[in-house]
Amino acid sequence: MFAYYLELALRSLKRSPGLTALMVLAIGFGVAASMTSWSVFRAVSGDPIPWKSAQLFVPQIDNWGPNGRNPNGDPPSAMDYADATTLMRDHRAKRQSAMYQISPSIVPAGAGKHPINVSGHAVYGEFFPMLDTPFQYGSGWGASDDANRAQVTVISSKLNQKLFGGTNSVGRSVSIEGRDYRVVGVLNDWNPQPRFYDVVNSGGFNSQSDDVFLPFQTAIQAAIPNDGNTNCNAVPKESGFIGLQQSECVWIAYLAELDDAAAVAAYRDYLQGYAREQQQAGRFGWAPNNRLRDLRAWLDDQHVVPRDTKVSLLVALGLLLVCLVNTIGLLLAKFLRRSGEIGVRRALGATRKAIYLQFLTEAGMVGVAGGGLGLALTCAGVAGVGWVLPKDIASLARLDVSLLVLTLLVAVLATMLAGLYPTWRASRVQPAWQLKSN
């Protein structure tokens, strides 16, 4: 029976090619616009570390007081040197790392090679196991390396390719800012988007991966300056990088791993106690005003998903809605034009259900055709999105099977939904009336 309905639908669609083409075009464009914006939105709003984001927390300490808070009363979104290093020393979380952005120059081995500039982070050894960073060779460094300010480094596979031709370089030495560092690990491709471990400096998205990681205290000792944002509520008393470390300026990102609610509560208490201590010591002239957000809440709070992406998704969904209203109208016209035919079929014994099936099949067919066009346009859209959106964001939009399936599904379901009302109207056609007027 279904094959018969398919044949009927095909015949009917062929009879008015203009109207059919119009519906297919509307569905195709509507679905493609929504799916293309969805692919971008999905990419930027995704959880960069879904298996662990509930255990990663970002502490904020109010070292600026009431005048430095944002309108919501939140303290600065990064830490100063004193607070970050105290939190590291106290070591109250399962794992934790303070970090700051660096941009050192590296001189490749071999005479006549030109120095290159790379970006990276100064972190503590626990950074790597905490974030489950994938290693191609070797591993991160241990707590003793942090304490001894060892001259060790973890590099990206990209930098390993450039410096050592991609071979296992563990144990070899790299010249960074004029000093030699021993490679202890080479990362596999790892450039999580958004760059959740340092949102403050990356603004969330950065197509350039981090190429070099150094121990935090080693980098401080080597005076490798902060290359990220520095925010100050007052001018540092002393100049230079040392002055920055002694100031209340905030420039250090911090992540802590807390396994369960009890650990979170304990850490909150600890932060509260620390801020109270600072208040009693006279450094803070205000009551504790800390924050401890888990990673997802933190990304949300930092508005990592660009406003433009949300607005475009909304507008694209609006476009889809208009396309659907349009399709309802056209299907209605198309179905009711055939009132005579419906009347004959009903008079010959077709049930309402049969009419329903027949016309929903027809709507479904328009949906499939629209979905097919939508698929092609979505592919073109995702490929062409780099042409209109900033590169860092556009490069994240991916075409995968789930997007293609979703495109087809949305097209068919939306069209069937749009076909419901016209089909209902078609099924209400009075056979007697139609036959009489003929």
Binding site: L25, V107, V311, S312, G329, L330, Y421, R425
Partner: protein
């Protein structure tokens, strides 16, 4: 022309659902198109803002040091570099800098009028350069004087340096001293000591083009400071008229001849202002294009929908049209009938659409802190949609008007 609304309305009552669907579609289209137009216009307005820079002949070199030098060593190298750059035949002038207009973010300081003030008066983008800064960028001095070479101070790595003199943009001068007497007055830019305004330039764009920068549009100050940061600095270079390409070729060679202990990224280490402008407005332009595409698609689909439904109605009413024609209605009466019918539906849709447009805008204002839409956009949207409706209905209406009176005698 004699318009009869009543028969049209009576007829429409027999096509309730079709009428409602067209009206709804027009309403939604209007709501989206108005908001999209508003976004497009806001973004295009950003794109066309003047930077104050002589953009056709200025380029920027991002120079990073690959040596662990002390501040005096860096200073000597920077001075030598500047001399070498200024000596090039294609170069008019050059200046050291920590940032440049349209860089896409950079150094900015809160500005107060007294050192005790806790709430800042405003926020200013901070530029640094030597006495050649104004000439290199091509900034127009509208009051006061340029920096003297002896006023230029040296700033080492992450060192807080403040100058007792400053040149400010007219926007900043007017914000701080609305009476227009800024010249010779002082301000504090997060500095313990005041800076005295010795000159005023107009215009001078900030480094950033984001929402925060736009809220403080054009407010910028220049300090006579040579940046000797051990990490690196920017050289802003102005070529002689028509010699931009030559200057961009010569400059890096001249710098490398001075010292090879530097890194100038081969990909984007040297950028002319066309590139800088293109890059910084990437997202604004992208958003405008995206909204433009969506508007066009939306209007096309709505127009096509109106054509489709009206054609159907015409087909359905051929007999009635024939009867009317037989009873003496002229072709133009039939044409007017369908045009009026569409106008009534469109008007209802547009009325609903205006409400929807403002509701949507209000929602984005609260949700995304977008600006409030002015009435003009809605006005344009209303006119566009009414014209679109009339245009779309024209072809089916013309076909209807050509229905012969003979049709009245045919059964179907």
């Amino acid at each position: 022309m004699n318009l009869h609304f009543r028969p049209i309305l009576t007829a429409l009552r027999r096509h309730k659902s079709g009428t409602l669907l067209i009206a709804l579609q027009i309403a939604l289209t209007l709501a989206i198109v108005c908001n999209a137009l508003f976004i497009i216009h806001a973004r295009l307005a950003n794109l066309s803002k003047a930077s104050g820079v002589d953009e056709s002949s200025v380029f920027v070199i991002a120079n990073q040091w690959a040596a662990d030098w002390s501040t005096p060593q860096v200073d000597a190298q920077v001075q030598a570099d500047l001399l070498a750059l200024r000596r090039l035949p294609a170069v008019r002038d050059a200046t050291p800098a920590t940032g440049y207009p349209l860089k896409g973010g950079g150094w900015d300081n809160f500005v107060t009028l007294t050192p005790e003030q806790t709430q800042p008066t405003t926020d200013a983008a901070v530029y640094t350069g030597d006495a050649n800064f104004l000439d290199t960028l091509g900034l127009k001095l509208v009051a006061g004087r340029n920096f003297r070479p002896d006023e230029v101070m040296v700033m080492g790595t992450q060192q807080a340096t403040f100058s007792p003199t400053a040149i400010v943009s007219k926007a900043l001068a007017d914000k701080l001293f609305p009476a227009g007497d800024a010249l010779g007055k002082s301000f504090y830019a997060m500095s313990p000591m005041p800076s005295t305004i010795v000159g005023i330039v107009d215009p001078l764009h900030r480094q950033g083009v984001d929402q925060y920068s736009n809220a403080h549009a054009g407010q910028a100050l220049i300090w006579p400071i040579r940046s000797d940061d051990s990490r690196g600095l920017y050289y802003i270079v102005r070529a002689k008229p028509g010699q931009l390409a030559a200057a961009m070729r010569e400059a890096p060679k001249a710098l490398l001849a001075q010292s090879r202990l530097r890194i100038i990224d081969p990909k984007d280490g040297i950028q002319d202002y066309a590139t800088i402008r293109h890059k910084v407005y990437d997202s604004d332009r992208g958003m405008a294009i995206l909204m433009g595409i969506i508007c066009v698609v939306l209007l096309a689909i709505t127009a096509a929908g109106i054509v489709g439904l009206t054609s159907f109605w015409v087909g359905q009413r051929r007999r009635q049209i024939g009867v009317r024609r037989a009873l003496g209605a002229r072709q133009r009466d039939i044409l007017a009938y369908f045009l009026t019918e569409n106008f009534l539906i469109s008007a209802a849709g547009v009325a609903l659409g205006v409400v929807l447009a403002f509701a949507f805008n209000l929602w984005t204002v609260t949700r995304f802190a977008l600006d409030r839409m002015s009435l003009g956009y809605v006005g344009v949207g209303v006119i566009v949609l009414l014209l679109l409706g009339q245009g779309a209905v024209l072809a089916p209406a013309l076909r209807a008007s050509r229905v012969s009176p003979v049709e009245a005698t045919r059964s179907v």
